[in-house]
C-alpha cells in the first residue's frame, strides 16, 4: 500500500475536472426533475390526474421504476431520476476505475509507477479511494440540491446516500472486470453489460416479477422508497455488495501477473473474410458497432416517446407554455407532440450521420488513410464507400427511430396502424439529416481539420428548433436550418417538394466534398 496516498492525490489532480463534470451533471439530473415537475402542473388536481395516467402506463414503469407517490414532487424526482441516475453514476465509476487500472496497465504507465517505491496494491487502493471520493461527492451534491429545493431532509439523504452506494457497487464491478479482462475495451464491455443487466432485471421485476427487482442493485436503491415512507435496510444490501465485489477484485488482483487478465484475450481470425478486402466491407467492419448502437438507441428513444400514447394531454397539463412548445402547426395536442418528437428524433439521428461522415477524418489524422490510399484503392472509391455506408446507415437509424415511435404507440394504445403511420412520418426526415451529414462531407473535402465544424451545423439546427421562437431568431435565419422546411407530419400533410429539394441539396454538398477531397493533399502527421 506504500504510496497509495501520493497516488490518490495524483489521481484526484488528473481527474478533478472530469469528477466535477460528472457529479454536477448527475445532480442536475435530479434537481431538474424537481424544477420541471413543479412548473408543469398548475393545480394539485391536474397533478393527481397526471399521476393516475402515469401509474397506469406499464411502459413508463419499465423505463423508470416502481410508481410510488407520483402526485408529489419528491415522488416524481425519485421515479424519474433514480434509474437513470444509477446508470449514470455506474458509468462514471466504470470510466474512473478502468482508466486508472486496466488502461494504465495497457499503456505501460503503471509499469513505470510500480517500478518506483510504490506498493503492489497501491494503484488498486488509490483507485478505490478515488471512486469513493467521486461517489460520495455526487451523493452529497444530490442531497444538498434536493434539501435546498426544498424537499424533506431524510428522503433527500436517502436518494444521495443510496446513489453513492450504487456507484460503489458498480465501481467494484469495474474493478473486478479490470482484473478479469486484458484490455480496457473488454473491461468497459463487461461492466457495461452488468449495468445493463441490473437495469433490465429491475424493469422486468417492476412490471410483474418482483423477485427479479431484488436481484438488481438499482432495484435495492429504488427499494429504499424515498419520499414514500423511506426505509434504510436496502442500503445494507448495497454496502455489502460493494464491499464483497471490491474484496473479490482485490483477491483476484493478488493472483495474477502484471498486464495479464484472468480471462485470456481470445485470438482473432488469422485471415480476412472476402468482404473485408473491399472498401465497403472495411468501412462496414469498422463502423458496424457504432451503427448498431445508434440504431438501438434511437429505437429505444422512439419507443419511449411512442409509449406515452394518448396520455400526453394529461401528462403535459393544460398550461399555455406546454401548448406553445408542442403544438406547432397543428391544433391537436397529441399530433403536435408527435410531430415535434419526430423532429427531435431526427436531430438525434444527426449524431450518427455527422459522426459517420467524419470517420474519414479520423482515418486521415491517425495515419490509416495514408496506408489505404497507398494501395490500389483510389480516393474516389475510398470516399464513395464511406458515403454509401453513411447514407444507408442514416436511413437505418432514422427508420429505427420511426419504428420505435410507432411500435411504442401501438403497444400502448392497441392501434396497430400507428406503426406504419409514424414510420412513414419519420422517413422524410432522412433528407435534412443527410444535409447536415453532407455539410460535414463538404468541410472534410476542404480540409480534414475543418470538418469538425460540422457539429456547429447540428448545434444551430437544435437551437433553431428548441429556441427559435423564444430567442426570436429571424425567419430567414431559421430557414437556413434544413429542419425548418418539411411538413410537420402527422399534424400537417406531407409534401414532396421540400423533401426532394433537401435531398438535392445534400447530394450537391456531398458531391462537392468528394470532388474537393480528390484535389487536396492528404494531411500527414
Amino acid at each position: 500500500m506504500t504510496g497509495a496516498g501520493m497516488l490518490l492525490r495524483h489521481f484526484l489532480r488528473r481527474d478533478r475536472w472530469m469528477l466535477l463534470a460528472w457529479s454536477v451533471g448527475i445532480t442536475v439530473l435530479y434537481w431538474s426533475q424537481a424544477v420541471s415537475v413543479k412548473g408543469l402542473y398548475a393545480t394539485q388536481e391536474e397533478f393527481d390526474r397526471a399521476a393516475v395516467a402515469m401509474e397506469a402506463n406499464t411502459a413508463f414503469i419499465a423505463m423508470t421504476g416502481p410508481a410510488r407517490a407520483l402526485n408529489t414532487v419528491g415522488g416524481q424526482v425519485t421515479w424519474q431520476a433514480t434509474a437513470f441516475g444509477a446508470i449514470t453514476i455506474g458509468l462514471m465509476s466504470m470510466f474512473l476505475v478502468v482508466r486508472h487500472t486496466r488502461a494504465e496497465e495497457e499503456s505501460g504507465r503503471d509499469e513505470m509507477l510500480r517500478s518506483a517505491a510504490v506498493g503492489r496494491r497501491a494503484t488498486t487502493a488509490a483507485t478505490v479511494l478515488v471512486a469513493l471520493v467521486a461517489n460520495v461527492l455526487t451523493g452529497t451534491l444530490v442531497t444538498l440540491s434536493l434539501v435546498t429545493f426544498p424537499l424533506a431532509v431524510p428522503d433527500s439523504l436517502a436518494l444521495g446516500v443510496g446513489l453513492a452506494a450504487v456507484g460503489m457497487v458498480f465501481a467494484g464491478v469495474a474493478l473486478l472486470a479490470a482484473q478479469l479482462t486484458s484490455s480496457p475495451r473488454a473491461a468497459y464491455g463487461l461492466t457495461g453489460a452488468v449495468i445493463g443487466a441490473a437495469y433490465v432485471l429491475r424493469a422486468v421485476g417492476d412490471v410483474g416479477s418482483p423477485a427479479l427487482t431484488w436481484m438488481s442493485p438499482i432495484g435495492w436503491y429504488q427499494g429504499m422508497h424515498a419520499f414514500s415512507g423511506v426505509r434504510w435496510w436496502p442500503l445494507a444490501l448495497l454496502v455489502l455488495a460493494a464491499s464483497s465485489v471490491i474484496a473479490a477484485a482485490g483477491w483476484t488482483f493478488g493472483g495474477r501477473d502484471h498486464g495479464a487478465g484472468v480471462l485470456t484475450a481470445r485470438p482473432g481470425p488469422v485471415r480476412a473474410d472476402a468482404f473485408l478486402g473491399t472498401p465497403l466491407g472495411l468501412a462496414w467492419r469498422l463502423q458496424r458497432g457504432s451503427l448498431i448502437g445508434w440504431s438501438l438507441g434511437l429505437l429505444l428513444t422512439g419507443l419511449s416517446y411512442g409509449s406515452l400514447g394518448t396520455d400526453i394531454g394529461d401528462l403535459l397539463g393544460d398550461s399555455e407554455t406546454t401548448q406553445d412548445m408542442f403544438v406547432r402547426g397543428g391544433t391537436d395536442l397529441v399530433e403536435g407532440f408527435y410531430a415535434t418528437s419526430i423532429v427531435m428524433l431526427a436531430l438525434m439521428s444527426c449524431g450518427y450521420a455527422v459522426s459517420a461522415a467524419l470517420r474519414p477524418r479520423h482515418d486521415e489524422s491517425s495515419g490509416l488513410a495514408e496506408i489505404l490510399l497507398a494501395t490500389g484503392l483510389s480516393r474516389r472509391r475510398y470516399l464513395l464507400a464511406q458515403v454509401v455506408l453513411t447514407v444507408t446507415g442514416s436511413a437505418v437509424v432514422v427508420g429505427a427511430a420511426g419504428l420505435g415511435l410507432g411500435v411504442g404507440y401501438a403497444l400502448t394504445t392497441g392501434d396497430g396502424s400507428a406503426v406504419g403511420t409514424y414510420l412513414l412520418a419519420m422517413l422524410p426526415y432522412l433528407a435534412p439529416v443527410l444535409v447536415l451529414s453532407a455539410v460535414a462531407r463538404l468541410l472534410f473535402g476542404v480540409h480534414a481539420r475543418a470538418a469538425l465544424l460540422a457539429w456547429v451545423g447540428l448545434l444551430f439546427a437544435v437551437v433553431v428548433l428548441l429556441f427559435g421562437q423564444v430567442l426570436q431568431i429571424p425567419e430567414w435565419l431559421q430557414a437556413v436550418s434544413p429542419f425548418d422546411h418539411l411538413a410537420l407530419v402527422p399534424a400537417e400533410d406531407f409534401g414532396w417538394a421540400p423533401f426532394l429539394a433537401l435531398l438535392a441539396v445534400a447530394a450537391v454538398l456531398s458531391g462537392a466534398g468528394q470532388l474537393l477531397f480528390r484535389r487536396r493533399d492528404i494531411e500527414v502527421r
Binding site: V270, L286, E370, G376, L377, D521
Partner: protein, 317 residues
Amino acid sequence: MPAVTSYRGGVSNPIEIQGLVKAFGSVRALDDLDLSVEQGEVHGFLGPHGAGKSTTIRVLLGLLRASAGSVRLLGGDPWADAAALHRRLAYVPGDVTLWPNLTGGEVIDLLGRLRGGLDERRRADLVERFELDPSKKGRTYSKGNRQKVALVAALASDVELLLLDEPTSGLDPLMEAVFQQCVEDFRAGGGTVLLSSHILAEVERLCDRVSIIRSGRCVESGTLTELRHLTRTTVRAETTRPPEGLGDLVGVHDLLLEGRRVAFEVDTSALPSALAALQDAGIGTLTATPPTLEELFMRHYGDDVSDTASGASGGAS
C-alpha cells in the same frame, strides 16, 4: 516475382524526379529536389529528420501534390494515375498505424487485396520468418510488430517497386537480418527498392546507390564507390625506416609521425604516391580504412564542416 516492365518515352527509370518543389504555406519542405532510381537497384535515401524524405515519398504516392517540378513513377504521373500505379508498388511507413480491432492477419489480407493480390506461399513464409502472431488485434501489437505486419503485407504482394520509409526502426537485430534478406531476395527477382533510412550499416549493406538529401535538396548521389572517391582514406602503417616526403605530397593531410609509426589521411587521387612513399620506407604493417558511409553522411550534416573536408575524419572517430 516482380514483373520487369519497360517504360515509355525513353524514361526507363522507375523513379525520376527533377526539380521537385513542395511548399506548405511559406515553408519549402522540398526545394528543387532531383532523384532517380534505376530499374533493379536498391536505392538508399539518406537524411536526418525533417530533411524531406517522407515528403518525397508521399509525393511519389500521390498523397501530396507537387508544387513544381516533374515527377515520374513507373512511367506514370503519381498524382493523376495514383491508384493504377499503386497496384504495382508497396509502401511501408516508418510509423505504422493499424486498425485497433482488426487482427494482423486481416490487415495483411486487406492491404494485399487492395493492392491487387498476395502470393499465398510467400505470405505464409514471411509470417513465419518474421515470427508474427497474425491472430492478435492491432491495438495489442508493439511498434515493431505493427511494422512487421506492414512489411509482410508489402513483401508478399506481387509488385515491382517497394517504397520503404525507415521500415526497420522498431525491429530487433534478428528481424533486421530477416528484413535485409527479404530485400535482397526481392532485388534478385528484378524488383526496385527506394529505402529511406538512417541506419547506415543497413544502407551500406543493401544499397547499390545512395542519395543524400538535406533541407529538401539532394546534395549527393551515386554508388558508394563513387561517393568514396569524394573523401579520404585513413592509413596507418609501421615502416622499417622513417618515411620521407609524405608531408610534401599534395593530398596527404593530418600527418602523424612517431618514429617508425605513421598515420595520415589521404585523398583518393593521392593514394598511389602516398603508398609508394611508404613502400620506399619498407612496410612492416599497413591498415587502410575506406571512408564509412557515416563519414560521408557526417560530411554533409556535420553542420559547419560541410565545406572543409577535415570534418570527415573528425566525425568518424
